[in-house]
């Protein structure tokens, strides 16, 4: 009887491999991808409209800021014309979009190019975000697996409780506490401020990863819990597949799907956490740029950073969707 079951499994595997070899297999995925990119572009357009309308309501007069203190009204009027501020709204919006695309947007503070400034700082933010993500996953996945395995025990309940507390901690508070105690008083890590290098990375990454790790551990745990009772898990166990393989190959794979889906949604909140972390540790990334530009009312820079964050979220979501398609066999067929 065992041999019959194994034979069934092998042929299923063969079928799967055969499917993957043919090119027509990938077409529906490609179409899905195109659709998603189309949606993403509409989202970005929506974001740009929101940002533009928001900033149109700003109280400060940008022409004066650019012209400087001692400029007379004639100069200010000339600059208003130059900046296109006296044109009707839709025209200004068109100019805005054109400037973004051609990297022609100038900051009000020191005439720096907005898009170049953002691009310059992007690698730093990426570094920090990936480090934070790494901590999330490295701590969360084994923790989730363990709590699922020992479900119901004191360990499990304690981790649940501590996890909920962890996501309730404000990032700015945690960052400062880490910075002051771990960095300054006990000298364990660098306190930051020296630029975006490996030495300054640990504390901000820890701050970022802290809350997320707890959250994802719980998520994985609950997903694993529901998956573990499914039929195919029981049949795999019955077939004699080792416990480890059951967990890693079957259960984990299916439980991780919602985790990845939520990961995509959570990029936006990762960015929110980034903003405080970058500010506190003086990490030269986009988050601190965004906050400084808002507090300085540097309108073009605000627009640029907000749009760029939206772009990052949208791209992350697309990547997540692509990963989703590869991992979840059920989604490979077009609906």
């Amino acid at each position: 009887m065992w041999r019959w079951i194994n034979k069934v499994g092998r042929s299923r595997r063969e079928r799967r491999l055969a499917r993957r070899a043919s090119p027509t297999f990938y077409i529906p995925m490609f179409i899905e991808l195109l659709k998603k990119i189309g949606w993403a572009i509409t989202t970005l357009i929506g974001v740009s409209l929101i940002v533009f309308i928001l900033l149109y309501m700003l109280p400060a007069d940008p022409a004066r800021t650019v012209a400087g203190e001692r400029a007379d009204p004639a100069t200010i009027a000339a600059i208003r014309h130059q900046l296109g501020l006296d044109r009707p709204l839709p025209v200004q919006y068109a100019y805005f979009v054109r400037d973004i695309m051609t990297n022609n947007l100038h900051s009000y503070r020191n005439n720096d190019l907005v898009m170049s400034a953002i691009w310059r700082r992007f690698p730093a933010t990426l570094e920090l975000a990936l480090a934070g993500l790494a901590i999330w996953l490295i701590v969360a996945i084994p923790l989730g697996l363990l709590t699922a395995k020992y479900s119901g025990s004191v360990f499990d309940r304690a981790s649940l409780f501590l996890g909920l507390i962890a996501i309730s901690i404000p990032a700015f508070w945690l960052g400062r506490i880490f910075q002051h105690y771990l960095g300054y008083q006990w000298g364990l890590f660098s306190v930051g401020g020296g630029g975006a290098n490996l030495w300054s990375l640990p504390l901000p990454a820890l701050t970022l990863g802290f809350a997320g790790a707890a959250y994802y551990a719980r998520l994985l745990h609950s997903n694993l819990g529901s998956v573990m009772n499914q039929n195919y898990i029981r049949s795999a166990r019955a077939r004699g597949v080792s416990e480890a393989k059951v967990l890693s190959k079957h259960a984990l794979r299916n439980a991780i799907i919602p985790v990845i889906a939520v990961l995509g949604l959570d990029v936006a909140s990762l960015l929110s956490g980034l903003i405080f972390t970058e500010k506190i540790f003086a990490w030269p990334g986009i988050g601190s740029l965004a906050i400084d530009s808002i507090l300085n009312l540097d309108v073009p820079m605000i627009m640029g950073t907000v749009l760029f964050s939206a772009l990052m979220v949208v791209v992350a979501n697309i990547l997540v969707d692509v990963a989703y398609i590869f991992i979840d066999p059920r989604l490979r067929q077009s609906k």
């Binding site: 998520l219 960015l271 929110s272 980034l274 965004a290 907000v306 964050s309």
Partner: protein, 303 residues
């Protein structure tokens, strides 16, 4: 942090009225719910009876609060949890800060619930281009990091007096947090629409209004209540973050976020200035998170 995954929310079963009492019984016995209710209950009591509990006026600059060299008074005689750098009593400020946090979080929660539920219900029920438009809009707003959007909104809106700032804060927070609710409600509405009794109601010629209000809305409520509780937790964090950056209520008004900001330069000499409000935030947010999670777990279908 993100709300509960929408997949989970969409799977929440409908609760007929008969089992509502069972819900309460199960909820009350849930360990998380118990702790959560205690915390939230304490918070609400503190906010209501702040003037009775607090020994000092939170905005009063007490002469004994700072030494002649500007050192804030440590926890002890006369200052239960110490004083801040201008001589104000931290304990009183934290107590009154509860008012601000809860007030802002709850009111913003109501507004965002109304907004989010409306968007979600309309989109999920009518589908078609209404749904597409609403979903696109929701996704656009969701792509923006919440705190950035909230700060930008606060900075852009006009108004400087205490009341105007409060109003701006409420508006900014509500306009940023409704998206999670909208998404969840839409998901539930979509799955509810497939139920037979909704189809039957349409066949019988029930107007859209009737279906929306009498049939869909009550059944969407469990999701909404869970999301609302978690939203309060998120709002408390948002409000703290905004006042930390100076974009909140008046700086002299006691708010946990601005207290932390004030205390940062004094971490070495007066750590209580930073630790106490931070712990307050953690307790408050944990309370609501516990409640929300507990509700979610009681509502979940039995495994």
């Amino acid at each position: 942090m993100a709300q509960a995954p929408t997949e989970m929310a969409a799977e929440i079963e409908l609760i007929p009225a008969a089992t509502q009492s069972t819900f309460w019984r199960r909820f009350r016995r849930h360990r998380l719910a118990q702790v959560g209710m205690v915390l939230v209950g304490l918070l609400i009591l503190t906010a209501l009876f702040a003037s009775v509990i607090a020994p000092h006026n939170p905005q009063e600059l007490l002469k004994t609060g700072i030494s002649n060299t500007g050192q804030p008074h440590p926890p002890g005689a006369g200052f239960l949890l110490g004083a801040d750098s201008l001589g104000r009593d931290i304990f009183s400020r934290v107590i009154f800060g509860t008012r601000i946090s809860l007030l802002v979080a709850m009111i913003a929660m109501f507004t965002s619930v109304i907004l989010g539920t409306t968007v979600g219900l309309l989109g999920g029920y009518f589908e078609g281009w209404v749904d597409i438009l609403l979903t696109r809009f929701t996704e656009s707003v969701m792509s923006l990091p919440t705190i950035l959007l909230a700060i930008a909104l606060f900075v852009v809106l006009p108004g400087d007096s205490s009341w105007q700032r409060l109003f701006k804060l409420l508006l900014a927070i509500s306009l940023v947090t409704w998206t999670g609710i909208a998404r969840a409600v839409r998901g539930v509405t979509l799955s509810l629409k497939k139920r037979e009794y909704i189809e039957a109601a349409r066949a019988l010629g029930c107007s859209h209004d009737r279906i929306l209000f009498k049939h869909l809305l009550p059944n969407v409520m469990p999701t909404v209540i869970v999301m609302a509780t978690l939203a309060v937790a998120q709002n408390i964090l948002l409000e703290a973050g905004l006042s930390y950056l100076g974009q909140g209520v008046d700086p002299s008004v006691a708010s946990w976020g601005s207290m932390i900001k004030d205390g940062e330069p004094f971490l070495l000499a007066a750590p209580w200035m930073v630790l106490v409000p931070g712990i307050a935030i953690v307790l408050a947010v944990t309370g609501f998170n516990l409640l929300g999670r507990a509700m979610e777990e009681t509502l979940e279908p039995r495994r």
